[in-house]
Amino acid sequence: MATAAIETHGLVKRYGEVTAVAGVDLTIAPHNIYALLGPNGAGKTTTISMLTTLVPPTAGSAQVAGYDITSQARQVRRRIGVTFQDIVLDPDLTGRQVLDIHGKLYRMNRQERKTRITRLVELVQLEEAIDRRVKTYSGGMKRRLELARGLLTDPQILFLDEPTQGLDPQNRIGIWNYIRELNRERGMTLLLTTHYMEEAEVLAHAVGIIDHGKMVAEGKPASLVSALGADVIRVHGHGDQQHFLHTLGTLPFVEQVQIDEHDNLVQVFVDNGNRRLVEVVQAASGNGFRVEDIAVAQPNLGDVFLRHTGRTFRD
């Protein structure tokens, strides 16, 4: 089966004058975890909203689970599970009621609902809290309840918009484990957006970086990273940055240079960090740029992000 789980062609969403998504082409293979990365306002949530049939696209087309998101929205809705960026729960209902009502909306029968809810509550470890009202839950518990709700109907494709936003590290790692398990054991396709680089690095088979409503890079995390160069030399310092950069540009072994104005950080991508370290320091000091700290590292997805969006990931 070569059909993609999700496929979009020139997907566009405009709100009046504002273009939120400016032509996104995206292909997600079945049984994959795909992470959509991008700065705030890049168009991630709008893309997810279109793919989950919440808002119609202004132009372009998309198939989800093989069905068109506009003309076959009902078929799409039957096959997807969604957790939204903001927590969307009724504070006055108990966790069990939330799940039960959700199951009823999808016409699951009583027995099905009962067994699924028992299993999922166990999976997200909410056994003790499930009969309490949602308003007594902590942020992490609410997220886990939402995850259980998204999974209740056993969707082919699960959309997770910022699934671990605002969670402490322990809860975050817990959610990562569920996500990986779901993907590995059930072959579920997952599309998630995230703010956390580690999240994408740890989970995703493929990532797409989106900026100003356009896809600026796409691929396996490892190949995106290796495209940057073998090593990165991170230079913190003050002084004549312009001249330093100019000199770096003339060095044959320098593959790429990135500047983070905010932190006075210059990142030099080179073929071999340890060997070139001295030369980079020389280039700096000979040009009135005072080095305060220097380190050799392997580039990561954060560097890929900076390269393509001009922004560090936390912005």
Partner: protein
């Protein structure tokens, strides 16, 4: 139909779970009958040959139906502002059932309020008309009226950006509907200009019909035309809600 029922039952669960809301509405109703009704009964002993409490009870019933509808609209607004509507929108249910579920729960609440008022009125010694069919017809009309006002409340809830805005807009409807009607005073004592104004208010027709059907008063407007006006009002309310709702989800 199924999804409409699911949403209706969810809203009713929330309504009864949220004790403050249910209790608050009930107390509000009781206060109207007990304090206002009894107080006025002391100074106005005779209105068109009947008891004053019996005279104003239909008005209070109409008002409590309004209060119930306002509470029902709040539920839609609350779900919209919290984003819970999104859960419905990504699920495989007809869009219309979201509105119908809301309209059904809102009307149910309004009817419950109206029934409670009627009960209290009877306990306070208001005598009902002899024919139970008349009571049923009166309740049916109250239901239609509640549906119409629920429509207005839902339409406002579908477009409001905040809870404050919602209450502000609802307030514009609420009191004029009561005071610019025959709820507290008979049509015959009103000056012509106010009489004309009052005749544009659907509440007037409901009250007149309920007085006739449930409490055995002489109808002043004609039962048939009253029914027609209330039916029209119900249709208008639902149409308003539908239009506003369609606009709110197409974004």
């Amino acid at each position: 139909m199924h999804a409409t029922y699911v949403i209706w039952s969810k809203h009713m669960t929330k309504f009864f779970r949220n004790a403050e809301e249910a209790l608050g509405l009930a107390i509000q109703s009781v206060l109207w009958v007990v304090l206002f009704g009894v107080g006025m009964r002391g100074i106005v002993t005779q209105v068109s040959g009947g008891d004053y409490l019996a005279f104003i009870l239909p008005g209070i019933i109409a008002l409590s139906a309004l209060a119930g509808a306002v509470g029902g609209g709040m539920m839609l607004l609350d779900e919209r502002l919290r984003g819970i509507t999104k859960e419905y929108l990504v699920s495989p249910i007809p869009r219309l059932s979201i509105l119908l579920g809301n309209a059904a729960s809102t009307t149910t609440k309004a009817l419950l309020q109206a029934l409670l008022m009627l009960l209290i009125g009877v306990l306070m010694g208001v005598r009902l008309a002899g024919n139970p069919l008349g009571w049923l017809a009166a309740l049916l009309l109250v239901g239609l009226f509640a549906l119409g006002f629920s429509g207005i409340a839902l339409a406002v809830a579908a477009v409001s950006r905040s809870i404050m805005g919602y209450h502000g807009m609802i307030f514009l409807f609420n009191l004029p509907l009561l005071f610019a009607s025959n709820a507290l005073y008979p049509l015959s004592v009103l000056p012509t200009w106010m009489r004309t104004l009052v005749l544009f208010n659907p509440t007037t027709y409901l009250i007149d019909a309920v007085r006739a059907l449930a409490f055995g008063a002489e109808p002043t407007l004609g039962l048939f035309s009253s029914t027609a006006v209330i039916l029209l009002f119900a249709i208008l309310g639902i149409w308003l809600a539908l239009t506003a709702f369609r606009r709110s989800i197409r974004r």
